[in-house]
Amino acid sequence: MTVKATSKLRRDNGLLLDIRNLKVQAVVYSPSEKPREVTIVDGVSLQLKRGKVLGLIGESGAGKSTVGLSPMGYGRGGVRITGGEVFLNGRDILKGGVRELRRVRGSEVCYVAQSAAAAFNPAHRLMEQVVEAALLHGVGTRAEAEKRAQALFTKLRLPDPKSIGCRYPHQVSGGQLQRVMTAMALCSEPDLIVFDEPTTALDVTTQIDVLAAIKDAIRDTGVAALYITHDLAVVAQVSDEIMVLRDGKMVEHGETRQIIEAPRMDYTKALVSVRSIEHEEKEPTPKPLLSVRNVTAAYGGGAVKVLQDVSVEVHPGQTLAVVGESGSGKSTLARVITGLLPPIAGNITFAGRPLAPKLPHRSKDDLRELQMIYQMADVAMNPRQTVRTIVGRPLEFYFGMRGRERDARVAELLDEIEMGKGFIDRYPAELSGGQKQRVCIARALAARPKLIICDEVTSALDPLVADGILKLLLRLQKIEDVALLFITHDLATVKAIADSIAVMYRGEVVRYGSKTQVLTPPFDAYTDLLLSSAPEMEVGWLEHAIHGRRMESAGN
């Protein structure tokens, strides 16, 4: 009897996955040191019954993906499973060797990756890839597999379920690809699916659809799942149980409701209560610092309009949050304000004087008083410069500081970003993600700006780290009296820091005003969709939100 057939027979009797005392290690090669062994996962045990969903949650580096991949016997890069046992359908898959593992992968256990756009092969049609594992493991003939794939496409509410398989990955949107990938995982009728942050890369309004589709598919097919994410609000919607991981060790494991409503460990409590920043909204001043009036901008010499008649104001020492999905034009607005993309209509005034549309025509003071911080802190810094050079550069450029005077100011700035002394001679590669972003903040502050444009500065960071960055920005805003234009797609961030809010949709500002005005009903259809799509840490939120929606999401 084949493995597949035995597993079908065992479908009803309980335990599917039993990981005992898992230990995963990797050899790290750093340039200055000898290769050394680091332990990524240490002594994690978990059990999963058939048809149940376990959420694995933690920050980056917690080992959640590594644990998630262990039922497939897979280690990314140089990662190796060095200890423990992984029982799947009653046998230890780590004992069987490579051939046995290949029989498990794509057959008993399937995988849904974070970025389906990258995880699909651009050279093959979707259907070819969806049925590949099913054919490889002999689950059925090609005709049967394709029929099942089409049924799954329908179940996952994909448009054109009959013909979408004939398309290539680049012809399908990100949210649709994520659902096709879920169909691909379900197509070989596995016992277990590993979802590795399947909605993290999606817009919030798309995420809710994909999440609902995944949840329904899990329920209807009776497959078990490991759901990996750093977003507790998301995992609360789909899982029966949650395991919290930190630094490769288990922190807490329990029923979903218990974890989010009555967490026992301090770390879990911190995760649950993240984004509880108290920020008092300030009244707009009579004289705005920056005012953008009726700006229209386009790429390709006017061919593609990305901003339509946009007007917003930023007041001194206050925060304007610009919120919207990818493609809404919020980053383009930043490019127009900084002069990287001259608008085709409209004008911008800054500190009482008109700003030249083109960057080369702007004065040094214009440049100095308007600074930027970016989403990807590590690519916004020269990897071959130390923190001293990076933060010292604007001091030299704008103020002509040299030597000891400059170093003293750099040290002061590092104090302000809570990075004390030990960091001044480090290279960016020797800093954590949050520390890198702090150095970028220090670099922006070094110019003594009146306005800092923050483009998704917390999006690439773990929730707790992002929280720290937001608190820092708010504190610095008080000390330095700097205004912030905060571009984000994350509503929780907006609520935490904004004084006024501009909601953007397809290049236009659809709602604009003080925080209270914007967040108080009645809402326009898009703001309603946006607000209702942001996951809340509450069991049953998903169903409630899906039913209450007035507008279909745009980019799914």
Binding site: M72, Y74, R76, L101, R102, R103, V104, R105, G106, S107, C110, Y111, A113, S115, A118, A119, F120, N121, P122, A123, H124, Q129, E132, A133, L136, H137, R167, Y168, H170, Q171
Partner: protein
């Protein structure tokens, strides 16, 4: 602009590349012509020898049209080329086209068989090197490839002659081919020069194949394939190779062009009656029309193969083949 062309980015791109190639070819023809004009020496003088009277030289110059302005001679030459007339060799007084065609076929014959052996071999070796990367198989393939490129082709040629022709006497050391020669005889005659050429181009293509595929192996979709349970070789063949096609085609075409235009040394070693021999002979004799003709053909082959490479790389890209 034509609507159909605008609507199909693929056709537009291909048309652009082909047009660019033709423009380039004309530019090269100007360069070749100009280059041969500034070569030192006088053709009439060298035909007639040092003892000729100045009147005889002047007469010959007039007969050959050497007194016309350069651009007149260029267009005269270009007009001839476009109608298949490459001119007359100054030294032998023969039509260049009739002498050159059989030699061009010989060169293409040699290049074709060298390509038939080397291209699949290089790609298979590249795939094997990736499959067993960093292991002994990979190291052996890489070492062999590196050694064969480091050795100059004349050295490889003489080694082949020494062992396979002189010692073992399996193949002739001189590759004589003539019209009406039986096909198998012909093949046997070109085994040694062909092998030398294979050695020269193999390593470059194989290493590029390996590098291009290894680059693709970092992609997330390779992990997807691994997690489907595919075998290592299937992953390389089905998921990595199709995405590495463009750079591989490029390097293959570059080497095919080399098989045609870079054969001079090998042809001289094996006294093979191809284009390279012909070119060398006439450079020595300062026979400008022949040098121009051969130069132009080499340029055409080079540019033509590069266009093919560009077009193939465009067609291999599903984003261009199947726009949104």
């Amino acid at each position: 602009m034509n609507r159909v062309l605008v609507n199909s980015p693929l056709l537009k791109l291909i048309a652009e590349r082909v047009a660019l190639g033709i423009v380039l070819l004309f530019a090269v023809s100007v360069l070749i012509f100009a280059g041969t004009q500034i070569l030192p020496g006088d053709v009439a003088q060298s035909i007639l020898g040092q003892t000729a009277t100045p009147e005889a030289v002047a007469n010959l110059r007039r007969d050959l049209g050497l007194n016309d302005p350069a651009f007149v001679r260029y267009f005269h030459w270009l007009g001839g080329v476009l109608t298949g007339d490459l001119g007359t060799a100054l030294t032998s007084r023969q039509e260049i086209t009739t002498t050159l065609m059989p030699r061009l076929w010989n060169t293409l014959f040699l290049a074709f068989w060298a390509a038939v052996v080397s291209v699949p071999l290089a790609i298979i070796l590249g795939l094997l090197a990736v499959r067993y990367r960093n292991g002994p198989v990979d190291k052996a393939i890489s070492g062999f490839a590196l050694a064969s490129t480091s050795l100059p082709e004349f050295f490889i040629g003489y080694l082949l002659v020494l062992f396979l022709a002189v010692r073992l006497q399996w193949f002739p050391s001189i590759s004589t081919v003539y019209d009406g020669m039986p096909f198998l005889e012909k093949l046997k005659a070109i085994v040694l020069p062909g092998t030398a050429l294979v050695f020269v181009v193999l390593a470059h293509m194989m290493r590029m194949t390996r590098a291009a595929i290894l680059n693709v192996m970092q992609s997330a979709y390779i992990e997807t394939a691994e997690l489907k349970g595919l075998s290592a070789f299937d992953i390389i063949r089905k998921h990595a190779l199709p995405n590495a096609v463009a750079p591989i085609i490029n390097v293959v075409m570059l080497n095919l062009a080399y098989l045609v235009v870079g054969v001079v040394v090998v042809e001289v070693i094996f006294v093979y009656p191809g284009m390279g021999q012909y070119l060398v002979d006439h450079v020595v004799k300062r026979d400008v029309p022949v040098v121009q003709a051969v130069g132009l053909i080499f340029a055409a082959v080079y540019i033509g193969l590069n266009i093919v490479a560009d077009v193939a790389a465009i067609v291999a890209n599903p984003r261009l083949r199947h726009p949104k």
